[in-house]
């Protein structure tokens, strides 16, 4: 029996290869170009040929796409100056050519070793996301790896039109260890994986409408979910933003005092927490009664 190729176990390059039409991927700034971090050698840290981001163009179901895939194993998928410049570049190319842009995210956020240039770089990338959105060019983030999307990347993915998550993906601003350091182990135990995933994992993010799709942890399912969204975009309107603000205020009212993420699950119709914890993404979707706005 051929083992399904699990999305969260793959490397960035494998992820791209398993999602796009065979042989259609052309990498931009490929490894031989050696566009590497100018800062890491000063700190005695080895560089990577792609600075932790593989970008390029391909077709998916015959339709052209631009892609950026982060390498989570390289300095936590963090966004340094070169990494962010590549990310911004691919998003700007998408806006220019009116071709959808896919972000395969696996990042703890800004690369602290590169300080301000990483911070500035990630905000430039966010601006480029909005450039796409202003032109109605779809931006789709896939968050399906264990590192998830945190810090600046957590913010960036929420700027995109759509987010596809698997149960392995996590989405947040401050990571679990950071929260524990600030608030204490009593408030948030970062070594409690079940708690961490129930707070910021794909299932809870789907319930709260932060993720648009919760899919199986395999490339075929992720690819199918992308295919459904490729021709859609979410225009930013004042009315839409006001509605979103109201939703967030309601969420704060409903769950602001809740210290147990299971209460959120129950509020969305999950009767058996154990069953829902073991359920796959699509099974979980069937169990939950998500309130779509």
């Amino acid at each position: 029996m051929k083992r399904a190729s699990l999305y969260h176990e793959q490397t960035a390059r494998k992820r791209i290869a398993s999602l796009v039409d065979p042989g259609s991927f052309t990498e931009l700034l490929p490894p031989p170009e050696r566009v590497v971090s100018p800062y890491l050698p000063l700190l005695d840290i080895p560089v990577s040929f792609d600075d932790g981001l593989v970008i390029g163009r391909a077709t998916l179901g015959g339709k052209p796409v631009y892609l950026a895939a982060q390498v989570g194993q390289f300095v936590g998928g963090s966004v340094g100056e070169v990494h962010s410049a590549k990310l911004t570049g691919i998003l700007k190319a998408a806006a220019r050519d009116a071709i959808p842009c896919l972000l395969l995210v696996e990042s703890g956020g800004v690369r602290l070793h590169e300080g301000s240039s990483g911070e500035i770089g990630i905000s430039e990338a966010m601006r480029a996301v909005f450039e796409c959105r202003a032109k109605g060019v779809p931006t789709i983030a896939v968050i399906g790896a264990d590192i998830g999307a945190y810090g600046g990347m957590g913010i960036l993915v929420t700027c995109c039109d759509f987010r596809i998550m698997t149960e392995h993906g996590r989405l947040g601003i401050s990571g679990p260890i950071v929260i524990e350091k600030w608030m204490g182990k009593q408030a948030y135990d970062s070594s409690n994986r079940a708690l961490v995933w129930k707070t910021s994992g794909g299932k809870t993010k789907y319930l709260l409408n932060d993720a648009d799709v919760l899919t199986h942890d395999d490339s075929a399912s992720v690819g199918a979910a992308i295919g459904e969204l490729l021709s859609k975009s979410q225009p930013i309107t004042l009315g839409g933003l006001k509605t979103r603000q109201q939703e967030l205020e309601k969420r704060l009212g409903d769950f602001g005092k809740t210290s147990d993420p299971e209460e959120i699950w129950k509020a969305f119709g999950i009767a058996d927490i154990g069953e829902a914890s073991l359920a796959s993404g699509p099974e979980f979707v069937a169990l939950a009664k998500r309130k779509t706005p």
């Binding site: 490397t11 960035a12 005695d44």
Partner: protein, 107 residues
């Protein structure tokens, strides 16, 4: 950080016409990335450049690379390695993996 270069004699590699480079592995703890590139100037040598975060293992590196150059026709290639503390067996495995990418045996 430790950096070194060495060139080893190796039988000429017959490059597939549509390949210029191949990469395997990533720079992460206990891992490394290996890039093979075409070197048209020297068809009978494997030219190596290694950057490693762990100093003091140059002899082991050179032994692993020399073995590879002797065991496989890798002449006409330039090998660049970024290492973050990979064990010798992982080095050998990644070299072979990148080489297989060149031969298009694996995607």
């Amino acid at each position: 950080m430790e950096k070194f270069d060495k060139t080893f004699p190796s039988k000429s590699f017959s490059w597939p016409p549509d390949k210029e480079w191949a990469i395997a592995g990533v720079v992460g703890s206990g891992n490394l990335e290996v890039l093979f590139e075409r070197n048209t100037e020297s068809p009978n040598t494997m030219e190596c450049h290694v950057e490693s975060s762990i100093p003091g293992y140059e002899d082991s590196w050179l032994a692993a690379l020399e073995d590879f150059a002797a065991n496989y026709p890798a002449g006409g290639t330039k090998v660049t390695i970024h290492d973050q503390g990979a064990a010798p067996i992982v080095v050998t495995f990644r070299l072979r993996q990148a080489y297989d990418h060149l031969l298009q045996k694996i995607s």
